[in-house]
C-alpha cells in the first residue's frame, strides 16, 4: 500500500449527549477511490462533514498528510480538500462561470484578483465539462445533470488533493451517473464518495467502507466486502452477488419479489 493521504483515528462525534459517530478509524491511500456505503441514517454524511470541517469531532483526530485538519484554518484545509455536496443550493442568482470560479477561493488572499492564467484555466475547465455554452446561465435554471457538472468543475478549479463527494450520482440519469464517475476517475485525485447504488459503488471503488449506526463495521475491496451476508444483515435485502461480466467486480442482483 502506498502513502496514506487521509488518516482517521478513533473519531467520535456526538450531539446533545447522543453519539452519532463512534470510534471510527480508517486510512485512505494517495490516489485511491474509496466508497462509503451504509443504510440511511448510518452516519455517512456526518462522517464526511467531520472531514471537511463542518462537524467538529468530539473524539479522535482527522489527519490529512499527517496534519490535523482541526488544528489548521478552514482555508488551509480547503486548499487540499474539495467537496461536492448532495444538495447544491440555489446560489442566489450566481452564474455558472461565477460558481466555477469560486473554486479559487481558498487559494486567494483578500483583494487578490484572478490572474490571467486562472481565467484561461477556468475557461478550459468550462469547455472540458461541456459548460462553456452555459457559462452565463443562472445556476437555478440548470438541470440536475448540469448542476452536478458545475459542482465538479468548481472542485477541479480548486485543485484539491482529496475530493469528498456526498451521493455524487443522486438525481442523475444513468448516462450522467457513469460519466461523472468516469470523469472523477480520470482526475487522478484521491476520492471518498458515498453511494446508495451498490452496483455503482462496487464497479468504481478500489475499496469500500461500510457503516451502520454510526460505526464502521467493515472495510476492504469490493470483492472482500460485498457479499450476500452483508446485504442481508446491513441492508436487510435479499440478493445474489456474482461477478460482473464486463469489469469482474461484484454484481448485485436484488430479489425484488418475495
Amino acid at each position: 500500500m502506498s502513502v496514506s493521504l487521509l488518516e482517521v483515528e478513533s473519531l467520535g462525534w456526538n450531539v446533545d449527549q447522543k453519539d452519532i459517530l463512534r470510534d471510527i478509524s480508517f486510512g485512505i491511500a494517495e490516489g485511491e477511490f474509496v466508497g462509503l456505503i451504509g443504510p440511511n441514517g448510518a452516519g455517512k454524511s456526518s462522517l464526511m462533514r467531520c472531514l471537511y470541517r463542518v462537524n467538529r469531532p468530539t473524539a479522535g483526530r482527522v489527519l490529512l498528510k499527517g496534519a490535523d485538519i482541526w488544528r489548521q484554518s478552514a482555508k488551509e484545509s480547503a486548499k487540499r480538500t474539495a467537496v461536492i455536496l448532495q444538495e447544491a443550493g440555489d446560489h442566489f442568482g450566481l452564474t455558472v462561470r461565477e460558481i466555477v470560479a469560486l473554486g479559487l477561493t481558498p487559494h486567494k488572499r483578500l483583494f487578490e484578483r484572478d490572474t490571467w492564467e486562472e481565467k484561461v484555466r477556468i475557461k478550459e475547465i468550462l469547455q472540458q465539462n461541456d459548460l462553456y455554452a452555459l457559462r452565463y446561465q443562472r445556476f437555478s435554471q440548470l438541470s440536475g445533470g448540469e448542476k452536478q457538472r458545475v459542482m465538479l468543475a468548481r472542485a477541479i478549479v480548486q485543485q484539491p488533493e482529496f475530493l469528498i463527494m456526498d451521493e455524487p450520482t443522486n438525481h442523475l440519469d444513468i448516462h450522467y451517473q457513469i460519466s461523472v464517475l468516469r470523469k472523477v476517475k480520470t482526475l487522478g485525485v484521491t476520492v471518498l464518495a458515498s453511494f446508495h447504488d451498490l452496483n455503482l459503488a462496487a464497479a468504481f471503488c478500489d475499496r469500500l467502507l461500510v457503516m451502520e449506526q454510526g460505526r464502521l463495521i467493515a472495510q476492504g475491496t469490493p470483492q472482500a466486502v460485498m457479499n450476500e451476508d452483508l446485504l442481508g444483515s446491513i441492508f436487510a435485502t435479499c440478493a445474489i452477488v456474482d461477478k460482473h461480466p464486463l469489469h469482474g467486480n461484484p454484481r448485485i442482483s436484488y430479489a425484488y419479489h418475495e
Binding site: R53, S73, A78, T81, A82, E87, H91, G93, T105
Partner: protein
Amino acid sequence: MPTMNSLVLNQSLSLKAARAPVVGLLILLSCIFAINFGSAEISLQEVIKALYASMGGETDISLVKQRIVWELRVPRVLLALLCGAGLSVAGAVLQNVTRNPLADPYLFGISSGASFGAVIVLAAMGAGNAMLAQYGVTVGAFVGSVLSVLLVISLAGTGVQVERMILAGVAVSFMFSAGTSLVLYSSDPQVVASLLFWTLGSFTAATWESLLLPSIVILIVMMIFIGYSRPLKAILAGDENAQALGLDVSRMRIGMLVLCSLLTATLVANCGGIGFVGLMIPHIVRRLMWREGGNVLIVSAILGGVFMVWVDVLARTLITSNELPIGVITAAIGSLFFLLVLRKRGWTE
C-alpha cells in the same frame, strides 16, 4: 501560449476598461446638475463659475451665489452621494451574507436602532447646543444600532442561522420603532419637529464638517468589503459549500453585520432614516450585470449614490414652498418600483 481563449478574454477586458470614464462622467454630471437645482435661481453656468471660484479661480460670480453653491449645495449633494452609496453597499452585503433578497439595514433593526438612539439623545438635549447635538446624535445612533445588532446576534442561535437572524431582526426592528414612537409621543411639539427629521431623512443639515466622519467610515468599510468580495460571493453558495471553500461562515457573518451597522449608524446620524435604497439598488445592479461578472458592491455604490443625488433634487423641487423628506420619496419610488418589477416574469429566480 496565446491561445484563442486568451484572445477572447482580452477583448472583453478592454470593453470593461472603457466603462470607468463613462461612469465617472455620469457621477460628475449628476452632481453638477443637482447643484443647479434649489430655491435660489442659479444657472448652470453660474454653478460652474462658482465651483471654479471656490477652487481659487477668478470669476465675476457674486459672493452670495458662490457661498450658496459652495457652503450649502455642494456639501448637500456630496452627503446625498455618500448616503446613497453607503446604504446600497450595506444592503448588498447584508443580502449576500444572509442569502436573502429582502435583507437591508432596516430588516435587521440597524436603522430603527440607530433612529431610536438618535431620537433619545435629541429628546434629552432638547433644542440646545447644535454642535453638541451633532456629536451626541451620532453617538446615540451608533449606540442604538450596536445594541440592535447585539440583540440580533444573540438571538440568532449557534452558528448564526440565517432564518433566526432575520426573524430576530424583524422583532428588534419593531421593538425600537415602538420606542421611537413613544419618545415622539411624549416630547413637546418643538422637539417633535426636529425628531421627525430622523425618522424621515433629509440632507439639509449637510456642512463640510459633517461630511468628514461619514466619508472616512464609508471609505474604510467599502475597502474592507471590496477586499472580501470573493468570500462574500462564496457565501452565496450556502453555508456548507462556503465552509468547504475555506470560509469561517459564522465569524464572517457577524463581522459583516457589525460593519454594516457601523456604516448605517453613521449615515442615519447624519441623514436620518432613509429606507428602500439598500433593498432596491443592489437588486437592480444584480439584474443589470449578471452577465458581466463585475463587482456588484462597487456598481451598487455608484448607482446608489447617483440615485440619491437625484432623489434629493426631487425633494427640493417637487413642491415649491417646502422640502419633502427624503425617506418619503425613496419609499414611494421604491415601492412603486417593486410593484412594477414583480409584474415582470423571472424576477424572483
